[in-house]
Each structure stands twice: as C-alpha cells, then as structure tokens.
Symmetry: C2
Subunit: 145 residues, 2 copies
Amino acid sequence: MERAIRYSQKRADILAAIQGTDCHPSAEWVYQQLKPSHPGLSLGTVYRNLIFFRQQGLIQSVGVVGGQERFDGTLTPHSHFVCDSCGSVLDLPGIHPDGDLDQTVSRQYGLSVQRHELTFHGLCQSCAQSQSNQSDQNNKEETSA
Amino acid sequence: MERAIRYSQKRADILAAIQGTDCHPSAEWVYQQLKPSHPGLSLGTVYRNLIFFRQQGLIQSVGVVGGQERFDGTLTPHSHFVCDSCGSVLDLPGIHPDGDLDQTVSRQYGLSVQRHELTFHGLCQSCAQSQSNQSDQNNKEETSA
DNA sequence: ATGACTGCAAAGACTTTGCATCTTT
DNA sequence: AAAGATGCAAAGTCTTTGCAGTCAT
C-alpha cells in the first residue's frame, strides 16, 4: 500500500520559501523566514520537510557550506559558485558540462553515475572588494610604519 | 614575525596516512588508522592537523559525505565520484573541465573564482550490484506471493 | 628555555528522533 | 476515525576549543 501524503499549509509554505528565493537556503534560514507567519513552527518540522522534498525530487542539496546543508529549488542543470568568505551561494545558469558526461564516466570507470555537480569556489564580488580594501590598508600601515 | 612550525612525529604520520591512501579519509579514519602505532593519539589532534594541512595547501577537502568531511592528499586536478549508498569516494584522474573555466566564470559573472570541483554521484560497482540483487529478490518475492 | 604541539574533556553546532498531540482526508 | 504531520525536547554526530602538560628546536 502506498503511503498517503498530506499537504499541510506549513509543508506548502516551506516548499514555497525554498522555491521563492535564490539564496540556496539552509534549514535555519527557512525556519527564520517562516517564523513570523507561522509562530508555532518547529525547526524539526523544517528538517523533516527538507528530507521529504529531497526524496520527492522537489529540491536538491547544494552540499554543506560552513557546516550547514544548503538547498536549491531550481532543478534545471546549472552550476554553483560558493563564496569561501561569506558562504553565499550563486547559480551559474550558463555553466554546465556536457549532458553525456555522466554516461562517459559510467562507462569509463564501471560506475552507475546518476548526476554530477560542478561547483566553483572563490570570493564573491563584495568579499573580493572588501578583502582588497583590507590589504590596501595593511600595505598602507606597513609602509607607514 | 613568522610563526615557527614544528614537525612532530605524530604530525608527520598523520600527513603520511592521508597521502598513503586513496580512500579520501575522514578524521575518524585517520584516527583509527594511527591509533595502534600511536596509542596516545587524540582525535582533537587529528582535527587540528587536518586544518593545519589544509591551510598549508598540503591536502584538500573533498566535501562532506554522510556527515563527515573527507580529505584528499592528491593535489593534481581530477574529479571525484561519491557513492550515495556506501559513501566511498573515488578519484577520476582523466576527468576534469578546461583549465580556463575558472577564468571564464570569473569574467562572465564578475567573481573571483579560485578553483572548482566536479563531483559525480551514483552507485559504485559493488553497491550497484548488490542493489540489483536486492531488487531481483524483491521481484521474486512479489511474483511468488 | 621558549613556544609549538598534544591529550583530555567540555562545549558547540547542526541534525535527527521519540512521543504525545494536532490535522488532513 | 485513521493515518500522516507537527511541536517539543532530548539525544546523536561531528567538530572545535580551553587548559595544562609535553615535546621539538
């Protein structure tokens, strides 16, 4: 017998929160986002629904950034950029390897490849800027010392 | 003043353990591996050295698999395969995107890209096999019931 | 001797889970 | 009414950290 699925208002709103942002939220972010409209919301419920949505294929995980798992409501193929300074995650819509790559790797290595992730790391625009300001200031202090 | 670095035997052995395996070990794995030869080893020391080696650029992180961070002593460009069933991590030496890709993304999106990771997911050979055996058995049970 | 490294254990952070209660169907 | 979903809080995992003692230079 199939297990029935009930769409509570909270469940729907948790999914909508993920799908309605491009910040690749963590469980905590979703919880804080919905707390005003759902005062009785529990963090455990958010976690349980994230697991549920991922099992249903409605969202995917972007991986763990700074100790927290981050999620993505966009399912079309795309890559990600992770800022190693502030932890922000950006979509890179145009960037993705060939669709045949999974099959190529499967054959070449005798594996059953189902998907791949291409993730870039570095500094986002604002972190790169503040870091260069920082080093400007350090240089100034060094030379004036 | 530069901070002096002292190479204790434990530190050297922790690094050697990582560099001497292709299993992409976790902190716990390194700890269990070295415990026989270093009975007084502490897990905290392993963690501290992993952080140290990564800062020194001697190892890199493969990311978090099944809740545990996994490390890699191989620094040449290559991709990884993660088995979503057993959590094993494999190197894919031949597979890696163009070297220019980081620069392309930097320009296209106004970011300061420093590196990228290409990671494949699916089932390793042995997990794919046992899973197909499992479903064979399930089919048998269903049809005979 | 100095300062870096380590062991130990406590603390921290994130996530999962058991159970009673509430909701959806 | 039945079964799924939730709240709450405890527990579980992995990792970090403070402090006192040890070790390399």
